[in-house]
Homo-oligomer: 733 residues x 2
């Protein structure tokens, strides 16, 4: 790629970005768009324009706001998880900035003043040497490719790897410490959090015939924790109850909607209004026509006793071999969740309880053996997906070439035979196949992670994110870089096998330009779309105009969702890996990386403060995961350099071996020092005072699934009684 | 090796064994030898001949006794550890018996009726074929070496590997279950055991300047366990106090001894007697002559106040950053030992407390970083020792050839120049070097294991045993088998490299005979010596006659020690590995293995019941270690077979791959299912009722080192007070 086409590409991206930022600036000022640009503020009951100087509503007002916001503001708005995500972005940013400060002024002159590219070209075609020196754009001259083979200048590149690694250790250590403190602070707030009083129990053994599972859980935990045990909630198979409950909710929504429609139909010309009707059959298209309000009310009346009966049956007969056990203090729960209870491992396994809202109920009763087998199967599938993902894509691309399509779907001929369309389609068809496959991947990985038997949403997100990271790094980075180089030079290799080494050495730096463009495209266009929220904006306005009738429906239309860490983190990690790996080969990539993470940090902070609403709070449990991935990236970088530098006929690269060992030791030291406080709750943290005596009933109720929840708190005892054969009421506190 | 020399060797061993058993039968009946043959009984206050019918004092009486003794008798005599060792022996025995039942009747005829050995020999020297068939002893004909290449008969051998593996899984699973129950039963006895109320705390952070370490431990644990915390005992550097204490004890012993000597000297001719004297200088050879009793009494009088002062200094100023923390219930201690206490990993690490008698005090205060580094260094050293042990031995053998010795130490000439002595020395010198090195090894490994920073004796024994196992398997089994084969055929290999495969295939079964002899020698001679206790007997009688004056000294002379698991287990494991690995190649080895483990079980049981006294009780904590080693042996076996069968030009050996995978899965399943209850104390087990209200003062005192122990229980408070700046008396219970 020459300089002009590179500049064109970057400039185009930049123009798109500027346009989208302008769109954002303009649109976000209009009050009607507030639910799209400030949903988090609205949900927290804040006025988006309250408390700000009107003067700051300048195009850069949001930037000032984002920079001014403290970490505590971020935690208040998006929870510790969001704050940790920002720490992740700023850590990578710091690594790149510190690296760049040394690498750019040192390596660019060292590379730029050498003449390897000119020389090698000059030998091949001596008569074209004047012209060829112009062929090499400034870009390529500033890479390691321009340094002569075996030159002493390569020492600068070798030692730069050390600098980057040490910077990474330093930043990561500081960040891990910081996040540890964030987590400890979040876990020791005086707020009462139900999950801190609860323990998730799985693999409950089969009870004796005269006991229910609830009875056996109660008697087991009461015996082992006589002073601190409070109550237990046995997991039930409430699919059926939930179905009825959802039906009732559906009918309620229909009534609400019908009432609004009815009220709106009372115009002056028709003061009575028309009662809305619908058909009872499939999708409301066929069947008997009925008055919606009347019909739904009747349905609800019919369903309510059914629900009640089903609730009782569920509680009594559909108990599963898993439970949530409550303790009357946080230390007791923390201690119980870390203590081995049973003599054999496949019974009474305990762990910290997840937040009520993020529990994946169907996974709780899975036995330890089932979990093991599912995990093994899922890992195998993921392994196959990561390694052989390119095969189906290539196959699909091959089948869907234009010529094939044209023959099989003759009606396309009219379109396809036009020259311009043909060219465009031919160029983009494989890419479209790739994009469709890639778009499906996060969903597939999330599905697979949940299928492992993981009990909580946040854990599933971590698992999916890990899988996606390895996929992305393997397929995009390794396959693309090496694959491209190898494919291009396949003929050369066959004729002169020894050439391959030279080839690799010369073309790896070339890949840098491609990735530079990739990073630029990714961040300008991606961040522009992210900030301007064009797609959610359009969807929201369309929905509000044509679909939503009630307030609740409008609210649902702008519900912002959470940050989606499972795709966001791996994508950032891909950029981090790319920039790290090319940082020494082509140091010019560093400013782009810095821009990516700086802008990413700014925009993510804005979005966290104003837009996204967390689905769960794992108190930064994601951090060890991010930390490990950055270390993996560093290892990939070190190994790449270890393999790449000898290609330059420079044989001091074993000097990098201690560095690889050091990285592994560093990872181990961090794991030893910080990880336990993420995996378990330290007693130090759990003993902090609460601001009020916890309302244990409320804590208990928080875990009852919506469809089984009794209407009044007084019904809790009835709720408990129908679960056990003997009465085992909890002591009232 | 031909049949006759094999038989000679086995018969010689057997004769030695029979002689030693007869010696044992004869000597053990003499009451004067009771302290050698029944020390365990004596120490438990039992009369060796009480309660037995005099009639059973037949030569096989001890066998009847050993077989009749139940597992509970064994636990009463030698603790759970001894019982677990017997389970280990009987498990290997069962594996071999079950294997033999199928392998012997199937494989021996299959191998014996083939003619590969004759044929191959026949081709080489057709005119000697009649004679050569006699050359092959019955021994070699019954090995896999006699089966033709690519013969269908090899299926029987291949499938036998499956049979042996399944038998091993079955037996190991049952044994692990059994040992788990043994351990649970032992841990839930109603006896009060101090270690079950205590937790070992390491990495105590530096206290603030106005606190002692004791104060900070107290306040920290009292805050985290307000209801269950009892007291703490800070580890001190008591080397100096201990030195003074030992001096005092030495003087006391000298006085006791002198008094006996004095009393004995009062004969009729000399009714006054002679007061014993000694010289105060080096080794009692030089210096002033003093009256022993007077001198020592004075010394004690001088030392006692010194000890008291040193005790106070130690308690106040030599506190180390480690402590033993006591709780008022077993569940509380079990729970606390499993719970993460501090936010960072390098502070306040907790683990279950070892028994008081097996604590390695100097290792307790080592920080987590020091422990890590020490472990890394020790592992490196062990790795080097395992792989390069043969090198110094070979070097030493080379230097110490007779010719060299003769030149360097001319005074040896007189001896060496005699033909018989020369022959013998030349034959045995390398072996003697090997034996000396091997004899030093367990001590070296034990020293290294302790240097790792392990807090308890039992753990150090496990660590040393593991290291020894890998050493023995690598050096004896692998190096010997392969090394011998390779060395012998070095010239062949150089001339016909392709021959090596055939060579290996033909000579591996030959190695079987060597190992058969080895096993026979080991068990007949080893067990004979073990049972007859000839060496301890001689030492005891010599000591009693010439050295011991007081009762205490006689008692010390026959103190039996414990079983010495750190060398015993790896040696048994070596035999188990050998027998397993050759079980299919040369099934005749199985009966020898069976004899080894049957006799081993019988003799070990006898020795446990009558001789050895355990130094510590780890409640079968050794079992997971033994289990893992048996599985490693099984893996070595499966991999050997996987590599060996194709040498017979039989290409179905990949059928063994699933078996290797299965073994790994089996190990994982066992680890998952049973291991946690060995690593931690399950609450189920800890909650069992005690037979009496525990005397917490006694529990506390049990952990105070001998040299710091206050004379009376009432002094405990003074003992505690001098450790802290503030008074932090424990609540009396």
């Amino acid at each position: 790629m020459d300089l002009s086409s590179f500049l064109t590409s970057v400039l185009t991206s930049f123009v798109i970005f500027v346009v989208l930022v302008l769109v954002f600036t303009w649109l976000s000022r209009r009050p009607g768009n507030a639910p799209v640009y400030y949903p988090s503020l609205l949900l927290r009951g804040l006025d988006p324009w309250e408390g700000r100087r009107r003067g700051t509503r300048s195009p850069v007002g949001w930037i000032q706001d984002a920079i001014a916001a403290s970490e505590n503001d971020v935690i208040a708005a998006g929870g510790v998880d969001a704050a940790v995500y920002l720490v992740f972005l700023s850590s990578v940013l710091s690594i790149l900035v510190y690296s760049g400060i040394v690498l750019l002024p040192v390596l660019l002159p060292v590379a730029g003043t050498d003449h390897a590219l000119e020389t090698s070209m000059g030998i091949d075609s001596p008569n074209k040497s004047a012209q060829s020196s112009q062929d090499f754009s400034a870009m390529d001259r500033l890479t390691m490719g321009n340094v002569g083979q075996g030159s002493k200048r390569l020492w600068a590149f070798l030692l730069s790897v050390y600098w980057v690694s040490f910077v990474t250790y330093f930043v990561l250590w500081k960040s891990y410490k910081h996040v540890s403190n964030l987590r400890a602070a979040a876990r020791s707030t005086p707020d009462v959090k139900p999950e801190e009083f609860a323990v998730l129990v799985r693999d409950v053994p089969k009870p004796s015939p005269d006991e229910t599972i609830k009875d056996s859980v109660d008697s087991y935990f009461r015996a082992l924790h006589p002073d601190t045990y409070y109550r237990s909630l046995v997991v039930t198979d409430h699919t059926k109850a939930d179905k009825i409950y959802q039906k009732i909710e559906g009918h309620k929504q229909k009534i609400a909607r019908a009432e609004v429609v009815y009220a709106n139909s009372k115009t002056e010309s028709n003061p009575e209004g028309t009662k809305p009707t619908h058909k009872t059959g499939f999708l409301g298209i066929i069947g008997k026509k009925v008055d919606t309000i009347e019909y739904c009310s009747e349905q609800i009346k019919e369903l309510l006793p059914k629900l009640e009966a089903e609730q009782k049956t569920t509680l009594r007969d559909k108990q599963q071999r898993s439970a949530i056990v409550f303790f009357n203090s946080r230390s007791a729960a923390a201690s119980a969740s870390q203590t081995l209870h049973a003599q054999v491992f496949d019974k009474w396994t305990v762990m910290e309880a997840p937040e009520p809202r993020e529990i994946i109920w169907p996974n709780l009763p899975r036995s330890i053996y089932e979990r093991q087998i599912r995990q093994a199967v899922v890992y195998t599938i993921v392994f196959l997906v990561v390694f052989f993902y390119m095969i189906p894509i290539t196959a699909v691309s091959a089948v869907t070439t234009l010529e094939n399509l044209r023959q099989k779907l003759p009606f396309l001929k009219v379109v396809v035979d036009q020259q311009i369309i043909k060219t465009i389609l031919e160029a983009y068809l494989p890419q479209i196949a790739l994009i469709v496959f890639l778009a499906l991947l996060p969903t597939l990985l999330m599905f697979l992670s949940k299928a492992e038997g993981i009990p909580s949403q946040s854990h599933a997100v971590r698992a999916a994110s890990g899988k996606y990271f390895y996929f992305v790094v393997f397929n995009v980075f390794l396959v693309y870089t090496l694959g491209q180089t190898l494919f291009k030079s396949l003929t050369t290799i066959i004729n002169h096998p020894a050439e391959i080494v030279n080839m690799l050495g010369n073309s790896l730096p070339g890949g840098a330009t491609f990735f530079l463009t990739f990073v630029a495209l990714k961040f300008f266009v991606g961040y522009g779309l992210e900030l301007s929220r064009v797609v959610p904006l359009i969807i929201f306005h369309l929905k509000r105009k044509y679909l939503c009738k009630t307030e609740d429906e409008v609210k649902a239309a702008w519900a912002p969702g959470d940050l989606g860490y499972n795709t966001r983190v791996p994508n950032d990690m891909l950029i981090a890996t790319l920039v790290l790996c090319y940082s020494v080969i082509a140091p010019l990539i560093i400013p782009f990386g810095v821009a990516y993470f700086a802008l990413g940090w700014l925009i993510a902070k804005n979005q966290v403060l104003r837009v996204y609403v967390p689905n769960y709070e794992s108190n930064g449990r994601m951090w060890p995961h991010m930390h490990t991935r950055i270390i993996v990236a560093l290892l990939v970088y070190q190994i790449t350099m270890f393999g790449f530098i000898p290609l330059k006929k420079f044989y001091y690269s074993p000097i990098l071996l201690p560095l690889i060992l050091m990285t592994i030791l560093f990872a181990y030291a961090c794991h030893m020092r910080f990880y336990p406080a993420f995996a378990k709750t330290p007693l130090e943290v759990a003993r902090h005072e609460l601001k009020e005596t916890p309302n244990m009933d409320a804590i208990y109720t928080a875990y009852i699934p919506q469809c089984l929840k009794p209407d009044k708190l007084e019904d809790l005892d009835v709720f408990e009684d129908c679960q056990s054969h003997s009465t085992s009421r909890a002591p009232s506190i």
